[in-house]
Amino acid sequence: MLADITRQDSRAERTRAELAQQTQVGEALVRGLVRAQLALALRLSLVVAIGLGGLPWLFAIAPSLGRTTVAGVNLPWLLLGVASFPFLIGVGWAYVRLAERNEQDFTDLVQRPER
């Protein structure tokens, strides 16, 4: 058991060294992580761009939407003044979870004993 841990440590050590010395393997690992994180950030920006960025356009082409009232308040006021904030926080929460998962995957890959 002890020997097992030592072997595992030495392999993880080697992968870290590969990262630090920028071997091709290490380079490919980092490129993969950067690409995954950027793709995640762009996907969630797209969610916001459609969810919020679409509203002015929607109100402009469908003015009747602006006159719709919910509980006596016009829909644009509710969407912008109230609903947009929980929406932004929700997207931010999802990003933190998924970005940390990407990093966990990367860490597991780097520290995995057999590669």
Binding site: R16, L19, A20, Q22, G26, E27, V30, R31, L33, V34, Q37, L38, A41, L44, S45, V48, L52, G53, P56, W57, F59, A60, I61, P63, G66, R67, N74, P76, W77, L80, G81, V82, S84, F85, P86, L88, I89, V91, G92, W93, Y95, V96, A99, E100, E103, Q104, F106, T107, V110, Q111
Partner: protein, 546 residues
């Protein structure tokens, strides 16, 4: 205004700010302690401090004033101010913290290894910082003039002096405690009065915000005009009014139409529609782009990230900030809406920025509750000026002390603080009549067209070169600064030129990105040789210790 609680409330906020500053001073020992707060600040404190620093005069006073004046279209200001933190979280927070850069010029040198780019970034940090400081000081001058009747320069100079002394003596550590306190004060100062205002509105029989016959005065009102305007009286008569004119209205009189403001219920209540208001739609999208992307380029926002222990903590802190800031932005809209009912005279006098401080008195009367709440709101407004100016001053002074004076010592930082605080104080005295929210919006546009592309491409694209970065910053940021100068110094414009200069982000941000990418590709041999090592440092999670 015979409210004898306002001045004590403002004095108390100022004293507590200075007091916490001195408490922090006792803890500040070495130079590194002084400048980056030893990174020993807990995430909750740090998030409240970031929120406290961010919620400026434009957030506390400006948004409600704009809602009162223009209606639903300006709700994009609070949404954008909050969404800016989401963009920061998605693209910048963790890698920037891992880079170890303390300021934007640091980041330029670290990523691209160019002294010249560093100097260019320094110039932009100072310009954006001052552009953002002037309206804060102006807001202070106007608020003190409105609630306490003091001359305009007193408030502006008071805030400039308190903030300069506090930053020079306490450094970042003190500022973190001060800012965290200011966030909760600002939230309380808007949240408590709004409860009383809502109850009063219920008690008044829930008067309609947009009555079918147009807004009316609820009480006999005498209005002193502050800004030139054209009024359309109910009988169709058109009347020019000049500053100093006095108008008297009886209770129940309809509010006349005011040029430039959305007095008509439909304009105010409904968003711009396609076809008849394409410029309005362009301005909306430009505003969205400026606020979403500008936050990450504001100098005082980035400095804060260095006080997080690591990248993962930076991410979590940003999420808490987003929640704190989002909660705050629910409130100013309510003040703007209730202002339509209780303070329509501000539309005529042109002092819409004063709606937050005047609404409690106007709705609740001169009783004890009304006066106490008015004092609370005034104290919150002062907290807004103090905290944002402190944050801006800390970052501008930090950049001046390391990049212009070339000294990293505590004494150098103090000298830089005096320089950084003195210039905007002088400017604030000489440039009056600027609209607080508009200038803040322009600062966002400049930041979005200069530092946003630099940070996003620097963090995510290996191909960025120093020449490309400089070209993009000069093209995009330069165009945005040109728009600012035209607005401030140039002749009044109308039609499309007015829209394109007032809300420049929709064309300057794409310009900056395009130039930066194109020139980088053209000069790709200049890409730094250590880019792979930099990427490793920016993106490797803390769990993998190298």
């Amino acid at each position: 205004m015979g409210n004898d609680f306002v001045v004590p409330a403002i004095v108390a906020v100022t004293l507590v700010t200075v007091g916490i500053g001195f408490y922090g001073l006792r803890l500040a020992r070495t130079t590194s302690d002084f400048l980056v707060a030893s990174r020993a600040i807990s995430p909750t404190w740090n998030a409240a401090a970031i929120g406290g620093e961010y919620l400026s005069a434009a957030s506390f006073l400006g948004i409600a004033g704009l809602v009162l004046k223009y209606g639903v279209d300006v709700l994009w200001y609070p949404v954008g101010f909050a969404a800016g933190y989401l963009a920061l979280l998605l693209f910048v927070a963790a890698p920037l913290r891992r880079s170890g850069a303390f300021t934007l010029p640091d980041f330029c040198e670290l990523r691209l290894g160019s002294r010249r780019l560093r100097i260019l970034a320094t110039a932009f940090v100072i310009f954006i910082g001052w552009l953002y400081l002037v309206p804060q000081l102006q807001g202070a001058g106007l608020t003190l003039a409105t609630v306490a009747g003091s001359p305009y320069p007193v408030g502006a100079l008071l805030v400039a002096a308190v903030v300069t002394a506090n930053v020079a003596l306490g450094g970042m550590r003190a500022i973190t405690f001060v800012q965290a306190f200011q966030y909760w004060l600002k939230l309380t100062a808007l949240a408590v009065p709004v409860i009383f205002l809502a109850l009063q509105w219920q008690a008044d029989g829930r008067p309609a915000v947009t009555p079918p016959d147009g807004p009316t005065f609820r009480a006999a009102t005498t209005v002193v005009v502050e800004h030139r305007a054209t009024l359309t009286l109910p009988d169709g008569e058109i009347r020019e009014v000049r500053p100093g004119d006095e108008l008297t209205f009886a209770a129940g009189d309809p509010v006349p139409g005011v040029s430039g403001a959305a007095t008509d219920a439909g304009d105010w209540l409904l968003p711009s529609a396609a076809g008849d208001d394409d410029r309005g739609l362009f301005a909306t999208y430009s505003l969205i782009l400026a606020t979403f992307l500008g936050t990450m380029g504001l100098p005082h926002v980035l400095v804060r990230f260095y006080t997080n222990p690591d990248g993962a903590a930076a991410r979590r802190t940003t999420l808490v900030v987003l929640a704190l800031v989002g909660a705050f932005y629910l409130l100013p809209t309510l003040y703007g809406v209730l202002g339509r009912i209780y303070t329509p005279h501000l539309l005529i006098s042109g002092q819409t920025d004063a709606v937050v401080v005047l609404l409690p008195g106007a709705a609740l009367g001169d009783g004890l509750v009304g006066r106490l709440l008015a004092a609370l709101v005034a104290a919150g407004a002062f907290a807004a000026f103090l905290s944002t100016s402190s944050g801006l001053l800390t970052s501008v002074a930090g950049v001046i002390s390391t990049d212009v004076l070339g000294r990293g010592s505590v004494r150098g930082f103090r000298l830089a603080t005096v320089i950084a605080g003195g210039v905007p104080a002088v400017l604030a005295l000489h440039v009056s009549g600027l609209d607080v929210s508009q200038v803040v919006g322009l600062a966002f546009a400049v930041a979005a067209s200069s530092f946003c592309p630099l940070l996003v491409l620097g963090i995510w694209w290996r191909g960025l070169t120093d020449v490309g970065a400089a070209a993009g910053v000069v093209a995009g940021g330069g165009a945005a600064i040109g728009a600012v100068l035209v607005i401030v110094l140039g002749p009044p414009l109308s039609g499309w030129p007015a829209t394109l200069t007032a809300q420049p982000a929709a064309w300057t941000v794409p310009l900056a990105f395009t130039v930066m990418v194109a020139v980088s590709i053209a000069t790709r041999r200049r890409a730094p040789g250590d880019v792979a090592a930099t990427m490793l440092r920016l993106h490797t999670p803390e769990a993998v210790r190298l």
